[in-house]
């Protein structure tokens, strides 16, 4: 696969663009921490186009780069924890090949929030975060299903293009 670095670069650019677009969308439901997670689209795509290694690389680079561009250092720590956990679980689910894409992505969304909450719990050490868990699980589930559905719609076309140019 000669063009792999190019495709990974494209996916990273895609993720960065989505991160930027997300800052423009006023998707405020009144609960901090709840967001669409559009950039995960790139990670889910990467998991299905390549393997775990590439997706993991994309996840880490995405979190660091997007954190520096649109956030701050503490945001990088939170999103790294969430993104890495989410990527690991999703990779396992993709490998098992026994789930549909929206479900894989939904679990990824939930795990993303779970990782962030874990960091939040470690930093503040209050049982108060427990209140937040159900809210973030449900929001992760719903946004994950949306992202996964979009991925499953787009994936066949990308695969066709990649096959035609002999990349897959």
């Amino acid at each position: 696969m000669k063009g792999k670095p190019a495709y990974l670069g494209l996916l990273l650019a895609f993720a960065m663009m989505l991160s930027y677009i997300e800052t423009l969308i006023p998707f405020a439901v009144g609960i901090p921490g709840v967001k669409l997670g559009l950039a995960n689209l790139a990670v889910v795509l990467c998991l299905y186009l390549f393997r775990f290694r590439e997706a993991f690389l994309l996840t880490v680079v995405k979190a660091v780069v997007c954190g520096f561009l649109f956030g701050n250092l503490s945001m990088i720590i939170y999103s790294l924890a969430g993104a890495v956990l989410s990527c690991l679980v999703m990779a396992a689910m993709v490998k098992s090949d026994s789930f549909h894409i929206p479900v894989v992505s939904a679990v990824g969304g939930v795990m993303h929030n779970a990782g962030q909450l874990l960091v939040a719990y470690i930093t503040v050490r209050t049982y108060g975060v427990v209140y937040y868990v159900p809210v973030l699980i449900i929001s992760g589930l719903l946004t994950g299903i949306v992202i996964g559905t979009v991925t499953s719609l787009v994936l066949p076309y990308i695969k066709t293009v990649m096959k035609r140019s002999g990349q897959l």
Partner: protein
């Protein structure tokens, strides 16, 4: 139902159950908005639900201890080895903002509760 769809439903159901469990925790475990906050040396050491009866030993690192009793929404220090034992002599606290302080052990036990104090203000 295909095998894949079954797995999908199972995973979503499991996530739903976990979310419900976490949603129920504050109700089963006593309301977390009503807590006993234990401060040691100016930092929050632990937080406990006010309506969960418990005996909490707090150790003061240079040597010493306080034994905190949470019972039916009231908090008191039942035993301590500090020199003045003012914290033990103090009455039990239960209302928002009330506290028990043990100066020798740099310990502040404070109530965070919805039940407001009957007093408008306290002068010291």
């Amino acid at each position: 139902m295909s095998k894949k769809l079954k797995a999908d439903v199972a995973v979503i159901a499991a996530i739903g159950i976990v979310a419900t469990l976490f949603w129920a925790i504050p109700y089963l475990n006593g309301d977390l908005s009503e807590t006993v906050i234990i401060n040691q040396d100016g930092k929050i050491y632990r937080e406990y639900p006010l309506y969960n009866d418990a005996v909490i030993p707090v150790y003061y690192e240079p040597g010493g201890y306080n034994l905190i009793l949470v019972s039916e929404g009231e908090v008191s220090v039942t035993d301590a080895d500090c020199p003045d034992k003012l914290c033990v002599k103090q009455r039990a606290v239960s209302k928002n903002g009330e506290s028990i302080i043990c100066l020798p052990h740099k310990l502040v036990v404070q109530i965070s509760s919805k039940e407001e104090s009957d007093l408008d203000a306290v002068t010291n």
